[in-house]
Symmetry: C2
Subunit: 462 residues, 2 copies
């Protein structure tokens, strides 16, 4: 008689009872889909069974792989972004009323009021915004996206990005660097002055360079950046240098008098290229929006209070959840979770596009936030693998011998496995603004589940 | 009775005979030191037994770890390098007579004659050199070092590097980039014109920037470069961009009219920083030259015909062997070993200093020459580990969670293990000059063995 061997999947109680009878038992770590929650299991099974969803996902992958976002030009946001006019300020994340808006976004928006000349100082700016005399709208509503607070006012320096395949445009502010900066929720005089120099010197320098150079292939730049230690979210050191290397000859020829100040500002800001990456990801994700009933995530965004998700099959619906605190935090000395604002920024678009957390394995520097070693960084990529549908054909991971980064978050997989995408991001001070740390945000599962239910409701009955 | 278990180290015949008797045998891969060669074993044993050698090695390690080479200035080689005057040309590698000199070095030297105005064209330059009316001397003899052909004439653009700890100086030519370039053994009109533009525009631009910026910590730059995929020999993409990022603001302020051409030349040359690294390594290695009877290698250099080695304990003796062909070659289409010149350049100094082959694991791009994958790149570093005496405290390897690169080649270990340092290097055409590929050169063991024998002869009788 051959001896009995039992493989026990997930059910520890059964394994224990069998082991008590002297039978060799191999325990396999397993948990039921969607944590066994019937409210999730039923739509999940239906979504997996719908061939139209599979087909739409396959189509989405082809388009995401094919996207070719290019950096087109730079200039004054009000001149570039259609619809940004009058007393209007754009912000990261979903719409939110002033009373609920987080302090970092309030402060940066108040700084923008000073920049525009609508208010004398920060306090006057806050009062003006509270009065409702300045319209605040999601950057998303005008085809734009920004990092962290994501504030864009008409006089700010901005980039224009276009996907050469779909023709879709996106706009994003210039990243204003470390310390006193709008994107970090600081609106004081130094932050305003920096915005002014970027609009008067840096943006015109890049505009002249781009006019002479022609459109610049952003994903090509990012692929090189990944090979040089960037995850292209938390770290953009290499990508920023590659951008400068590419455009410097034309810049020096066209506007030699602006090079020194531009070089100083860009050279001291390792995040300079971040917003360009966000806008590039935005154009790629917009190209799959509304293309069939796909469950591919096209939008993840947070305003410090609410987190919002959109999927390609429901192009006009927002699915919301409270913005989480950023996990695995590394705080600057003296700070803790008590000081942290909720997760903020449109930057999680890059995670939907094979970058950031998906590319953690590219960046040993990001490993510090994931446990410390290269194996932890690789694990970060594998965590995204499980909820993504493809491997990027553009973005290779050197430490994994060039295999592509996980591309395209599938809301089905998020519900199935019970965790949302991770986002390599910064942490702002909840009461004072300013950056106090960085870490890994985990987008809540609830909005993905809501989206899946709605997607099925929107399908014709079989 | 416990069963007999045998560990058999290296001796397969014995293992087979024991296994035939039914005894469990574990075979360990082992070979005797120095391949069992008694001519090598005797001095090797004596060198390992000499406490004065160990003490000198320990001292050497401390000094190598402490070195702080800085980039001081740039300018005309004849103005910077003491002793480079009149009709004189420096070259890579040990001294060699014209008749035996390899073609790439002849062609580059002839180009230098044109650059200097000593000859009308390449043929006239070759004739002039053959006549002996131009002195050719190793760069090493004037405290200098160059990559590949390593040609330096008085009008060429050059760097000045100084180790701030020891005060030791070194000089090196500007790297003249891909294609028609002296360092690649090309001396035609385009190569000469490029040298001229470097001397007239690029070197003065960097000179002005360095004067304004102050000395630049080279090892600090290289440590960042390693974290961004450079091995700092075969690849200097990141280091070159970091150098430019550091100096650009001052350059644009001091000489705005020179920035565009400089940026174009630097931006299209991923090897631009290579010679700076070589000169920096040279200053560090010079700081241990003659410090006690150490067997630490201070100099590995090749002129395409001979390979030369020096050790710290015998500061004025050269140990020679034929320059090998570069191994593991990746040739441009249409080329093979039949076309390859012998290994050439002073660049192997970087391998003695914890860079290049020692840092292969830092550079997935170098992996292509080592088998293709990251594991091969890591194996390249481990191969150097075995013949090195320390781990660098400055140069970390991201994929090995930050551990230091192998530092300080010990001639004893080379003889013991029977292989010389590997060198990540280029391959020149033996008859026409110009680069035809790249690969990994393996320095022959013989000169290390000769050095060890002489070191022991130089020791007082015990």
């Amino acid at each position: 008689m051959s001896s009995l061997r039992v493989v026990s999947a997930g059910l520890d109680l059964m394994a224990e009872s069998i082991e008590a009878q002297g039978v060799t038992t191999t325990r396999v770590d397993w948990s039921p889909p969607a944590g066994g929650d019937p409210d999730a299991l039923v739509p999940l099974a239906a979504a997996y069974a719908d061939p139209a969803i599979d087909a739409a996902i396959a189509d989405a992958v082809v388009r995401l792989q094919a996207a070719q976002p290019h950096l087109i030009s730079a200039g004054r946001a009000g001149d570039l972004i259609p619809g940004l006019e009058g007393r209007m300020i754009l912000h990261a994340g979903p719409p939110i009323e002033w009373e609920r808006r987080c302090v970092p976004q309030r402060l940066a928006a108040a700084g923008a009021c000073v920049l525009e000349g609508w208010a004398e100082d920060l306090d006057a700016g806050l009062a003006l915004l509270e009065s409702g005399d300045v319209e605040m709208a999601p950057a998303h509503s005008l085809g734009s996206a920004g990092a962290m607070a994501g504030i864009i006012s008409p006089s700010a320096a901005a980039w224009h990005v276009r996907d050469e395949v779909s023709g879709i445009d996106a706009w994003t502010p210039f990243n204003d660097g470390p310390g006193d900066a709008f994107w970090l929720g600081v609106g004081g005089p130094e932050a305003v002055e920096r915005q002014r120099r970027m609009a008067e010197v840096v943006a015109p320098a890049f505009a002249a360079a781009l006019t002479s150079h022609g459109p610049l292939d952003i994903f090509g730049l990012l692929a090189q950046g990944l090979a040089m230690g960037d995850d292209c979210h938390m770290r953009h050191q290499a990508t920023t240098m590659l951008l400068m290397r590419e455009l410097l000859p034309a810049m020096a020829e066209e506007t030699p008098e602006k090079v020194a100040e531009t070089a100083r500002m860009v050279g001291t800001n390792g995040h300079f290229a971040l917003t360009i990456t966000i806008a590039a990801a935005r154009t790629a994700l917009e190209s799959i929006r509304g293309i069939g009933p796909s469950s591919v995530v096209t939008f993840i965004s947070r305003n410090g209070v609410d987190a919002a998700v959109q999927i390609a099959g429901l192009p006009d619906e927002w699915f919301l959840a409270p913005a989480p605190l950023v996990g695995d935090p590394l705080y600057r000395p003296g700070y803790s979770d008590d000081d942290a604002a909720g997760d903020i920024g449109d930057s999680a678009l890059v995670e939907c596009c094979g970058l950031g957390a998906a590319a953690s394995a590219a960046s040993p520097a990001v490993a510090a936030f994931l446990g410390g070693g290269l194996a932890d960084a690789v694990a970060g990529t594998h965590e995204m693998d499980a909820i993504c549908i493809a491997e990027s054909e553009r973005f290779g991971l050197p430490v994994l011998d060039g295999r592509g980064t996980p591309l395209g978050v599938d809301a089905r997989a998020v519900v199935d496995l019970g965790y949302g995408p991770t986002v390599n991001t910064g942490i702002l001070h909840a009461r004072d603004g300013g950056q106090i740390g960085a870490g890994i945000a985990r987008v809540p599962v609830a909005p993905f589940q809501q989206a899946l239910v709605r997607l099925l409701e929107s399908r014709p009955a079989a």
